[in-house]
Structure formats: C-alpha cells, structure tokens
Amino acid sequence: MRQATGALPRALALALIALAALLLPSRAGAEEPVRLWHAYRGVELEVLEALAGEFAAEEGVVVDTLAVPYDAFAAKLSSAIPLGQGPDLFIDAHERLGDYRERGLVAPVGDAIEDPYAFTENARAAVRLVDADDGEALWAVPIAQKSLALYYNTDLVQGPPETLEAIADVAANLPQGTYALAYEARSAYGHAPLLTGFGGFLLADDGSFGFHGAPAVRSLELARWLASTGLVPEDADGALVTSLFSAGRAAYAISGPWLAADLEGDAGPRVPYAVAPLPKLAATGAPMRPLLTVEAVMLSPRGAARPIVRALARRLASAAAAERRQTIAHSLSARRDVPAPRGDAVLAAFAAQAELAIPMPTDPAMRATWEPAHRAIRKVLRGDATPTEATEAARRQFDDVRRPPPPATSPTPALLTLGVMLLAGALLLLRRARDPAARAALRRSLPAYAYVIHAVIAVGVLVIAPLLVGAATSLFAGRPDSGAYVGLGNFVEILSARGGPLLSSGSFYVVTLVTVLWTAVNVLLHLAIGISVGLLLARPATRLRGLYRVILILPWAVPSYVTALAWRGMFHRQFGAVTGLIEACNELLGTSIEPIAWFARFSTAFTANVATNVWLGFPFMMVVTMGALTSIPRDVLEAAEVDGAGRFARLRHVTLPMIRPSLVPAITLGAIWTFNMFNVVFLVSGGEPDGSTDILVSEAYRWAFTRGSQYGYAAAYAVLIFLLLSGVTRLTGFGRGEGGR
C-alpha cells in the first residue's frame, strides 16, 4: 500500500508536466488570437466566417470564432469574462447592453466606431447608454436591425390596409377558415405595436412600469376586439403565425424577417406575399411602431483595450460588410450609407419600418416587464379581467419583482458561527487524532480510503460543492445590481410572501400547496395506471406483450420537453388535437361540446399538466411493477388460489403487499421527480393562468431567469425545496432501510 500511496503524487506530477507541455507552445505565439462569440447559423454564419477569415489573413492574426447558443449567451459571458476567459468581442442583441454593463461584461467601443452618424438614428440610439454622471458613450457597434413588419398575402388582398381597424373590411371577402390578421397576440412583444400606436410604452424612461394607464388599456381593448370579432386567431404564438400565413390562412401577418425565411420554399415563396410597414391605428391616426432590436458587436473590457479587436469590430460593421450581409443573408443593415439592395422589396420595407420602430430599451428593468405584461394581455384576451384591472395587477407584479433587495446585513454573526463550528470540528478531529485507538483504526483503514478517494472527490465536486455554493448564494441578494450579503433576508421575504397576504397568488405557501397537490395527484395516477398496466403485461396469457411493453415504455424514452411541447400543442384551444377530437365528436355524434380553453382556468390547465406528466411518468411505475411481479413465486399465488382467494382477493392480499417493498422506493423517487418536474409545468401550461399552475421549481426558475436575475432569491427557493424534500423523505422513512423487507 505504501507503494500505491507514493504512486499517486508521482502520477499527479506527471499529469501536470504533460498539461504544461500542451499549454506552453500556444503561449509562445506572437499575437494572442482574437476570440469572437456569436449565435449565428446558416448563411449569416458563412458571411461572418468569411469576414473574419479575410480580416485574419490581412492582419496576420488568428480569429477564433465560436458559436454559442443564443439562450446560453448571457450565462456563458458572465461566467467567462470575469475570469479572463471569455471573448474579446461578441455579437448580441442591443437590449442586453444595460444588463451586461451592470455586470461589467462590456466596455465602450471607443474608436471601433469612427463616425456614429454613419449608422441610422435608431441604431445609434440603441447602443448609446447614459452613465451615472450623465455622460454618454456608445457601448456597441451596430451591424444589423430587426423588427416586426406587416406581411400580406397578395392572392388574398391588394395591399396593406389604411389602418389596422380596416382589416375588418377585408375579412368579409376572405374564404372560410382564413383569418384577416395573424399576430403574436399572447406576447408583449407582439402586442407592443398596438401599445405604441396609442402612444404607450412597456418601460418608462425612469425605469418604471409603462404598461398601464390609458394607452395600455386602449391597446388591450383593441386586442380584445380583434380576437372577439374573429379577425385574429386566439392565443397565437410565433409558430402559429408562421403556420397560418404560410398555409395561406391569414391575409395579413405581423412578423419579423424570420417569417420571410420560413416562407422560402425550394421553388420560390410558398405563398405570394409582400411586406409593408405596419399600418396606422384609426383610433389615433398614429402609426403602429414595433420594437427594434439592433444586432451589435460588443467588446469585453479586455477586448476593448486591444486595437486589433476594435479594428475587427470596425471591419464587421463596415459598409462593405453590411452590404454583403444584406445581399447574401438578407439581414437589414444598420448603416445609413448602405440602402436596401435594388429589387429587394422585402428588405426595403423592413428598412422603412426600422426608421419608424422604437429601439428596445436597454434598461435591465426591461426584462422584468415581459412577464407581468404577458399575464395582463392573456388575462384580458381570456376575458378574466378588464384591461384596467389587468394592467394594475401587472404593475403591482412588476414593482414586486423590482422591489429593492433585502437590506444588507453584516456577515459577522454568520462568519462567527461558521468559525466556531469549524473550530469545534477541528478540535474534535484533533481529539480523535490523539486517541491511539482511533489512530490505529485510521491506519488500518487507509487502504480503504485509497479505494474510495476518487469517488469522494467526484461526489464532492459534482454534488456537494454545487449544493454548498447554491446554499451560500441564497444568503446574498444575488442581483446584477447588488451582490450584498443579506443573511436570511431572502428567506424572510419568501416566507412572509414579500409583505403581501400569505395566501395571495404566487406566494410561497400557495405555490407549495399547488406543488403538493401536483405531486400527490401525479403519483397516485402514476401508481394506479403503472400497476394496472404492469399487471396486465405480466400476465403470460396477454398476446403480443413484448410489443405492448416497448410501446408503453416509449413515453419514458422520449425526452420530456419534446413530450411537453407536443402536449402543449394538443391542448391549443383552436388548433389542438383535443379540440379536433371534440369537433369530430360533435360532427359524428351531433353533440355540441364547446372546445375547452385549457389554459384559461386553473382546473383545466392543471389537468393538462397532469395528463402530460402522467403520460410521461406511468411507464416508470409499470416497469418497477413488472420487475417486482417476477419476484413473486408462482406457488404463493397458487396457494392463495387453493386457499379460496379469487382474482381480486389475490391481487389485494398477496400481489400488492408483495410488490410493495419494491414500490416504496419507486414512489419516493417518483414523488421527488414530480415535485421538481420543471419541464412539464414550464412548457405545457407555463404557469398559466396567471402563474397559478406554477410549482416551486418553475417559480424559482422565474426569479432567476425572467425576473431580473435574482439568483439569491431563486437559490433561497431551491434551499427551501431541498429542505422540504429531505424533511418529507425522512419523515416517511425512506432511507432508513425500511424500504426493504
């Protein structure tokens, strides 16, 4: 054993030398490579690679481009850049600038922009940030811009309508089943043009909530009118807009450049269409103005200090580059000196629209406007609340999310306690170490430690360390604007429902109740269905049971988010499979069942979630049951048969009690999985209506990722979930060895 313990440091040293040998030559290069991150794919990626390649060849520098998924961009940047590992420059949407600046991920671009007036006014405004002492600077180099515009099907209509309300005139002449207009009614982004048409905005300049008051109310009334008159489809999201318009089932559509890409078939567009700027509102006479997103090159603080990086940013935003992007990738230039190519009417329309668009605010508070605005819009469209009620509730929710973090407290008491505990632990260890018997025992078990050390390290790094870091995070405000230590402040806020009524919607207690109900209902159904099917499939008399087994295990094999998305589609009020079934039933049987708006009420939304999760979860219980059944000796069942037990009595008195020991751990696992089943809740109901079907994990997710990155608060939720689960499993006895015989 002495040899083995000696071998470990030697191996470590060798590994270090090998690592150094690998790393050293790359350090020896003349100019450090320029690292560029982006989220491009397809043609846009080709153009970028070509531009970067040319630049690299001319300047004699290595340019490393790395595609990072758009959703992961912010998280990767904020973990890499502070460690000096991230990109020198990256391409992202301008609305994240405020957040990035708050976290110190970007720096002003300096001479990367030589002439600000080469860019359109909107693009310039988008990347201009005001700092604390009212100074202004440009924080990114605009390269492209995107906004919504009006598509119209030239087979169905002549041209754009005079006003939005005028589409009602068109509707009468449209074929059955065709909508006058498809727009993303359920999202605040899709609703924004209506709001701006009434002179409203989502976020005020001072960072307060803008989606309330007369413009918001009037815009919601208009949206409700559009939906209730059947001019627009209900509950439309981006995918539905695309599918309706590309199937020729919508005369007009409000969508972005991505719809043009989707309409492109192998031989020309799938429907004949044209694009125009959004129309005016008849009510105000003002144009509808969509939100503008400017794609821009941003420089990390380290990158901004390097002339070569700034030169690359200049090159990427140059007129020549913009022209190539426009002609090859059809992405709209952000420069005044690069007009839309002659003959590209679509791009010209988007350019005209971009002039009229409103750049998305860069204030980090903007991210906190979406969720309250979404909820308000959906409530009004469902008819659950008047526009005034809904927007006022949205404002309260926004203010709740943007409330100041708990007061910073001194970490001294906590550190003191930790110190005392560590000291006590150390003393205890010291006493153990002095005890000769303990030392002898330790020496004897040294070889055993050598065998488990890798597992201990793995578990420590992969399980225990993240757990401790997560728990520690919950003691900090953990917001982009404040990382102060707040002690148990987050917990106090959660447990006191942030000062509101304890049983108000979205409070910890209500969400916990929903979570418990969710878990109980799911596990019961998993058990009932899983055991029944398992029993049926275990019967030797069942024909083709191998086939059934495979088919029934399939739900389990499909990734749960795929299932969740499929079920979400099936529950769509107008276009879902469930509604299709109801309609078929009405047609065949002459019944008159109304299609159900599944996500309009808690009961139906909850049912939809449960149905999805039951479909996902019962195969696990089924497999456990089938496994457990094989362990029941045949003659015990025969003994029961001879003893006079019928089929049901055998099941109740022999089979079920005998598979119980195998089912107990499965039930515990199933309960924990269900308790934390984020995918289904987030993707099927998405918390609708009004966040009432959210469970603890999806609520925690929202605090971390959709409500202004309140990581500390979300971590406190996670700690509470952990405590709840470990407490309950302890109480029910699993883990104390009672799960077995």
Partner: protein
C-alpha cells in the same frame, strides 16, 4: 372427507403428453401416495386434482361430485407446497388464518381454529413472526397448519419434505402420518422418495411415464411388483436384475442366469405352482433378486448364487456387498454378524426370486 375417483385423465402441454389416461380411486379417508421418478407426471396429476391445471381429457370426481372444471377454491381442498408457499408479508397467525378469512369465516371461529392448530403443531411461540424468521422445519409446520386450519375435504401434499434435512424429514414424516390418523381426512401425497411412500401410504400409486404402473398397499406393491420398473423403483438398495433362461431342473423349472466363465452363477429352482403365467423351458427371462432376499447357504445346502465379493460396506446392522454375476453387477445385503472379507467367495441361498418378461417388463412370477 371425500373419495376421489379419476377416469381417463389426460394432460398435454403443447406437444408433450404428460398424463396418458390415468385411472385411480382413493377411498374416503385414505392416505394415498403418488410415487414415481421425476417427470413421471405425479406433480401434474396432483395439480390437476387441485384444479391448478386444466385437464385435456378425462374426469375427476370428489365423492361423486364432478370437479374437473371447477376452480381450486370451489373444490374444498388444501395443499401443502414443496416450497411451503407461505405469504411472506403475513405473520404466522395470518398465514394460518388466510384460507378461513377468504372463505368468510367468523372472526371468533378463525381465532379458535388458529389456536387449535397452533397448539396441535406447536406453533404457539411463532404466531407473531414472519415466515422469513422461521427455520425450514417451522415453515413446513406452518404450511401444514395452514392446510389443517381450513378443515378441507381433501389434503394435497406436493413433496412437502424435500426441502428438509434427513433427520427432520423422518420426524415430520411420522408427524404427518399421526395427523392423518387423528383427522382421517382423505390425503393425496406426491413424492419421489420410496421411503416416504412406503411408510405413509394406505394406498400407493406408482407412476411411470404418465401412467399408473401399479396400485396397492405398500406391502403388496413391494412384495408383488407388477412390472420390472416397479420392482426396480421400490426397495433400497434396488433389486438386482440378471438376464436368464428357464431350464428343466430336478423338480420342475430352474431359472439360471446367463453368465460367462469368469465366476459367479445364479441358479434358482422355481415352484411348480403360483406362477403368473405358464412358463416353459428355454424361455428367456429377467431374473430379479432383492438384495435382502439372500442368506448364506447352510452346510450341505446347494447354493443358488455364487460370486466373489468385490467390495464390502458395513452399514451398522448389515453388510452391503458388491459383486458380479457374469457381467452384471449385483448388490447384496447380509447380517453383519458374520464378517465377509473382500474377494471372499460367497455361497448364498435366494429365498425369493422375481421373474419378468424381458421385452415387456411384466412380472411372470
């Protein structure tokens, strides 16, 4: 208590005919033993009687009641399984009570019967234990108790002793017989162990290849085996078989083993009467000699069997001698009071020989 009557019972598993027309009748209150080698169909026959398998053809009647197609619980039977098949999740008490509960007996009746049975079988101490906490013998008793508590019309035993060690087996065997003598319930007991069969049975059925080869009391079957198979199956050590011919002797026929020159001979005079079939000189027969049916020839007496002992084993009260007559190995048993050395030339008289038809195996005498 019922009598059991089975007619023309057949059972087929796929292509395999496991029972090929079994007829048997068990008198009311008798202890019947079905015995035979593995694969003879005895367990299948028992499971058919229990109703755990469906008959392909034939009929089963309990005391005149046709039960062939009835479910087990409609037959009023109790069964003791080879593995005991106790309910592992139930205490001994609940195991004993299970059958009564399933039949909807009153709680007081159940408690009384369980106590009775527990006392009868000495299970009192164990009533609250789970089967996992019992020894093999205790489990066996619980399985018995579970059957007895039910007071069925018919007891079925499927090799109930085969999981016990030898000492316990002998003891439990006696217990089972005692219980039967006390309860007088008709019992059907399946075993491949001839000692159990011989000691327990009132009436014994020897099964071979899906047929009843012979029935009768153990003594009858042992003394007058109907076929060479039965003769070879019962008795320990097994009966010796030698190829032989019938020759005319001084006072009638003589059966003589066909041997080479290399030592050992068998020559037994046959009585003139009592033969199963008319025998004629010159006929070929299989001669059967039970190891215990020999004794040393007295002075001046002509020996029937001569051979050289190739191996002698002392089994306490007797010697077991291995020898050859011609090519055929034989085993013989003699009282241990006279020592026999290895290689010693033996001169023995045979008190009883059995003769079988060499082709059909049917007993000739």
């Amino acid at each position: 208590m019922v009598a059991v009557e089975i007619r023309g019972l057949e059972k087929r598993f796929g292509e395999t005919l496991v029972l090929r027309g079994v007829d048997l009748e068990i008198p009311d209150g008798a202890f019947a033993v079905l015995v035979g080698p593995s694969g003879c169909g005895k367990s299948t026959l028992l499971r058919l009687i229990a109703g755990l398998e469906e008959a392909t053809a034939g009929s089963i009647r309990f005391g005149g009641r046709e039960v062939t197609t009835l479910a087990p619980r409609e037959r009023d039977i109790a069964m003791v399984f080879q593995s005991y098949a106790l309910y592992p999740h139930l205490s001994v008490r609940d195991n004993l009570a299970f059958g009564l509960k399933m039949r909807g007996e009153a709680k007081a009746t159940i408690a009384r019967r369980v106590d009775e049975v527990a006392k009868m079988l000495g299970l009192g101490e164990l009533l609250d234990r789970k089967p996992a906490a019992l020894s093999g013998g205790q489990r066996q008793r619980v399985a018995m108790g579970r059957a007895i508590a039910r007071r069925p019309a018919l007891f079925l035993f499927d090799e109930p002793l085969s999981n016990l060690d030898a000492a316990l087996r002998a003891q439990v065997r006696v217990d089972i017989r005692r219980q039967h003598d006390r309860l007088h319930a008709t019992s059907v007991y399946v075993t491949h162990d001839q000692v159990e069969a011989m000691t327990l049975a009132d009436v014994m059925f020897v099964l071979n290849r899906g047929r009843v080869e012979q029935r009768g009391t153990p003594a009858e079957v042992y003394r007058r085996p109907a076929t060479q198979f039965v003769a070879g199956f019962l008795g320990s050590p097994a009966m010796n078989f030698l190829e032989g011919v019938l020759e005319p002797g001084d006072e009638g026929l003589v059966a003589r083993a066909v041997t080479g020159d290399d030592g050992g001979s068998l020559q037994v005079p046959l009585p003139a009467e009592g033969l199963d079939a008319p025998l004629a000189a010159g006929g070929r027969v299989t001669i059967g000699v039970r190891p215990h049916d020999v004794r040393p020839a007295a002075q001046g007496e002509a020996p029937h069997l001569t051979c050289a002992a190739s191996l002698v084993e002392l089994l306490g009260p007797e010697l077991q001698i291995h020898a050859r007559v011609g090519e055929a190995p034989i085993t013989l048993c003699t009282p241990a009071d006279r020592a026999i050395a290895r290689g010693e030339r033996l001169r023995l008289c045979v008190d009883r020989v059995h003769l079988f038809d060499p082709s059909s195996g049917v007993s000739l005498w």
